[in-house]
Symmetry: C2
Subunit: 214 residues, 2 copies
């Protein structure tokens, strides 16, 4: 069970690490972290640096591919080889997944054309640009492609995927292992649960990133 | 607002990255990741490697200290300088926090004596060894010390802390930013919600780690 995480400069750390913590504990999991070139990856999370052990050319197959999002997916515009790699790996996967704006990368790579998909709520409509049908839902399945909503949705996605791959009992045990019995202090995790003022405040703050992110 | 994350070999990545994703976005946050020596830190999450930019000697103050847990807290036994550092930083903090078995590190450092605290459910009783009163709760506050339950509880803890530090509106907006509107696929995130067979299965698997972790 070869599980490959795409890393890239500017990615959001939790988009990857949420699913990573779960999927890496699947029975028989062999996890590989890959970037354009191997080495240090600077996330958009206050400069937190992760290491990718592999370069794109080292990895030609994945059973599961996980593509995290970023404050700006722009970065990848300059690296068509990443999009080409995503396409070629997708041809080998059992499951191709994304978290947050990672689905815009799948879209840009041409994988979402005609499919239902989701992404961070703030850029949901951008999916249309890549021919996808935006669905306001935490997890969207379209054949072997599973897209998750913003950042923390990757945890729910990974547990859902774990059940598909290894059965519900394994997934339930993993949920218990990470004590995932959420008690969010507020009920503001979704745009339909907050005031338009709060949505606008966040969109303004995020605007300068997202403006560029299709 | 100096926010310091203690990193160490064997730590669980999500314990740190959950809170990191939230706290690093607090207004005025200056985040520092510190380890015994700066450089590569090998987590217990399939070898995922994080970078600590600072060594212990570089950091002598924190407004917020976050101590993640590990499959085995044993590692730190051989490094009393880490425990001494935790003590000395705690003397300067506004908030000292832990996620999962990170509270056993706080306990070992002598900070939990006589206090209520929590940790991963599987080792809750071990807190008594350090004079703490184990509380089966997702987040436990005892003065300026906040301990969180297993792994994913760090996200709830960080949002709760964000509200204390920057007010509820900021915390609510951060919750919206990471779209934290959890939809766990199962209701198995807490030991009282699963069969004893599932608890035992997990305890057996984790046993060889936790056996050594006081």
């Amino acid at each position: 069970m070869q599980i490959v995480f795409l890393f890239y400069d500017g990615m959001t750390a939790l988009d990857a690490i949420g699913p990573h913590e779960i999927l890496c504990r699947l029975p028989g999991a062999k996890v590989q972290r890959v970037a354009r070139t191997s080495g240090s990856i600077h996330t958009d999370s206050a400069g937190l640096t992760l290491i990718a052990e592999y370069a794109l050319r080292d990895i030609s197959h994945a059973d599961i591919l996980v593509v995290p999002g970023a404050g700006s997916a722009t970065t990848l515009r300059d690296y068509p080889e990443i999009l080409e790699w995503v396409c070629s790996i997708h041809a080998t996967t059992k499951w191709t997944t994304s978290v947050c704006t990672g689905s815009l990368i799948l879209g840009r790579a041409g994988l979402l054309n005609g499919l239902k998909a989701t992404t961070h709520w703030a850029v949901l409509d951008r999916l249309r640009f890549w021919g996808a049908e935006p669905i306001s839902q935490r997890i969207v399945e379209a054949g072997k492609i599973i897209t998750a909503a913003g950042v923390s949705a990757g945890i729910d996605m990974a547990l859902t995927l774990a059940a598909k791959v290894a059965g519900p009992q394994v997934a339930q045990t993993l949920q218990l292992a990470i004590e995932y019995d959420p008690e969010p202090p507020f009920d503001t995790g979704s745009p339909d649960k907050v005031s338009s003022a709060m949505r606008d405040l966040l969109l303004t703050r995020m605007g300068m990133f997202f403006e560029k992110s299709v």
